[in-house]
């Protein structure tokens, strides 16, 4: 490699890092300015002391976990079945799972409210638990593109058809095959899908706001509209959480015990 290509490479890298970190450091710097004249963590202290923050954040974490479980239960068997028995359907299923990226969340939630309002055949919005369920299903839809892609890619690394046959001839039924053979072999993929889901759900605003649930997204918006420094502190916190998620994905996929089989 010549000196010039090296220099250009480094220049591009540095430019990228600056592009990313300069606004962020501005954000961080501003969030420390709650006290006049000196840097302090006052804004952060405010945020963490706010019972609303704790309540909404733990609500969103809970919702994220529920969403992940529903997502796994729907996506893993579907992706498995499509790979095994209906390979011709793959492009269609893939298209279907991409729809949430095209259809705005606002459209989805209005559809939900129309379909499941209190005068409908399934009045989910009539109760808190019903609305929570609706929200979790909505989140599952939003996370579908990421979850499906991750799991499908994971399935590509194993010989699904032969492993399934090997398990069948040893007496296993579909449930056992999924739980003991397929799922453990796509754990890193499922986890990366799960963390993306987590990140999406934590910051999601539209669904939670329109279904009027006390989630973190609407709280973030409310604080942003009413306070000066706290929203920036919150943004930094949100960034940190997202990065922690991404780091976890890296960690899990690198140190997972079930290394893929050699082919």
């Amino acid at each position: 490699m010549s000196v010039w290509t090296r220099i250009i490479g480094w220049a591009i890298l540095i430019f990228g890092l600056l592009y990313f970190f300069v606004p962020l450091s501005g954000l961080f710097e501003f969030s420390l300015k709650a006290r006049r004249g000196v840097y302090s963590f006052d804004a952060y202290r405010e945020v963490f002391a706010d019972p609303q923050f704790q309540a909404t954040f733990s609500y969103s974490v809970m919702m994220a976990l529920v969403t992940i479980v529903i997502g796994i239960l729907i996506v893993v068997p579907t992706a498995f079945w499509v790979r095994l028995k209906m390979p011709w359907a793959r492009p269609y299923v893939e298209f279907l799972t991409l729809l949430p990226l095209v259809i705005p969340a606002i459209v989805v939630v209005f559809g939900y409210i129309r379909l499941y309002n209190t005068s409908s055949w399934l009045p989910l919005t009539g109760s808190i638990s019903g609305t929570n369920a609706l929200l979790a299903f909505g989140y599952t839809v939003l996370a579908l593109p990421y979850m499906y892609r991750a799991v499908d890619t994971g399935l590509r690394t194993i010989d699904v058809a032969t492993l399934t046959e090997a398990a069948q001839i040893l007496g296993a039924g579909w449930f056992t095959i999924l739980r003991r053979v397929i799922l453990p072999n796509v754990v890193p993929a499922v986890l990366s899908g799960a963390f993306l889901t987590f990140a999406i759900v934590i910051g999601e605003f539209t669904l939670a706001a329109l279904l009027d649930r006390p989630a973190f997204g609407p709280y973030l918006q409310r604080i942003g509209a009413n306070k000066a420094y706290e929203p920036f502190a919150l943004s930094v916190i949100a960034f940190t959480i997202t990065w922690a998620c991404l780091a976890l994905i890296q960690f899990v996929s690198r140190f997972s015990k079930a290394a893929p089989a050699r082919h």
Binding site: E165, A166, A167, Q168, I169, P184, N185, K257, A259, H263
Partner: protein
């Protein structure tokens, strides 16, 4: 009553019929090989026995029980796959224990049985290894142990040696045969390698285009091939075009040389063209033999333990092997030689 009975088995994929009227009865404890080129339907028959494919017609019964209503996981069959198919997330112990766990065997019994199986394949020391930490031969032995652990009534081997290198292939096939004899388990082995089939089978089914061309012991298949396909697929064979001279006297003419066959020529008329076959090891230049054919040497190659000579007998190329000896002079190309063999070695080939 035979143990495994395949009765008039058929399979079509769309308009293509891959298995046609396949009939076979396999006795308990027998080791049977399905031998044929790729696409002959041998794997499809095996997959129908396993329940992975549903027959388009005919029945499969094991121990008198019709299998058509049973799903794969209800059939109690062990199977070894070409690609090993060990579960990558489990170590050797858990792989072998899988079938037993699924069946709900008590923990202590599982432990004992897995130990027994690992001892059988001599891999007790690798119980904690994961599949990706082992060689192909070791993985395939684990796959065999896994298939045998739940005490299946039948063992299916789908080209289990094809992915392995030559040396391991030979040692593992001997090991498989020895374990099969020890357990007395009825086994169906699918292969496209004739040497493999000849060396370990009780009986061989030679399959061609969805049909069983011949079913017989390895020596029957090799020495008395029923069809031209079997003759050419199993071993190398020289084909000679000949004409019947006198069916009553078993005489035929090859070029302008008349020879007498041992085999009868029932249903043939004088002047009818027929095809004769001769194994390369049946002919020699010096040896005894009641029949002689003259030919011109085309080539002669030294292969170490044997010398392979190719001669032309009335336009038919004939190869034959002779054992090497230090004082042997190799025939030179262009020379005219006498090829001697026993008339009993000459087969009449039917299509």
């Amino acid at each position: 009553m035979s143990f495994l009975v395949l009765d008039n088995l058929q399979k079509s994929f769309g308009a293509i019929q891959v298995v046609k009227n396949f009939n076979m009865a396999i006795e308990k404890g027998e080791f049977v090989s399905f031998l044929g080129p790729s696409g002959c339907g041998k794997t499809t028959v095996l997959r129908m026995i396993a329940g992975f494919e549903t027959p388009s017609g005919g029945t499969i019964s094991i121990d008198g029980r019709d299998q058509s209503r049973l799903k794969t996981n209800q059939r109690n069959i062990g199977m070894v796959f070409q690609a090993y198919a060990l579960f990558p997330n489990m170590n050797v112990f858990d792989n072998v224990a899988f079938g037993l766990k699924v069946a709900g065997t008590p923990r202590a019994a599982i432990e004992a049985r897995v130990k027994e199986m690992l001892a059988l394949i001599r891999l007790e020391h690798l119980a904690d290894r994961y599949p990706y930490q082992m060689s192909g031969g070791q993985q395939q032995r684990v796959a065999l142990a896994r298939a045998l652990a739940p005490k299946p009534q039948l063992l299916l081997l789908d080209e289990p040696l094809s992915a392995l290198d030559a040396k391991i292939r030979i040692s593992l096939r001997e090991e498989i045969r020895q374990i099969q004899r020890q357990l007395g388990i009825t086994t169906v082995f699918v292969t496209h390698d004739q040497e493999e089939a000849l060396s370990i089978s009780d009986r061989i089914v030679v399959m061609n285009a969805g049909r069983a061309d011949q079913i017989g012991t390895p020596s029957e298949i090799y020495n008395r091939p029923a069809t031209r396909f079997v003759a050419s697929f199993v071993g190398t064979l020289n084909m000679l075009d000949a004409t019947v001279v006198d069916p009553a006297e078993h005489t035929v003419r090859v070029g302008n040389q008349v020879i007498t066959l041992k085999e009868t020529l029932v249903g043939k008329t004088a002047g009818e063209p027929i095809v004769l076959a001769l194994r390369p090891e049946a002919g020699s230049l010096q040896g005894s033999g009641d029949t002689t054919l003259k030919g011109d040497v085309l080539s002669s190659s030294f292969l170490g333990s044997v010398i392979r000579t190719k001669i032309s007998v009335a336009g038919n190329p004939v190869s034959f092997d002779t054992f090497n000896a230090p004082d042997l002079t190799m025939p030179r190309p262009g020379e005219t030689v006498d090829l001697r063999f026993s008339s009993g070695d000459l087969l009449v080939v039917r299509d």
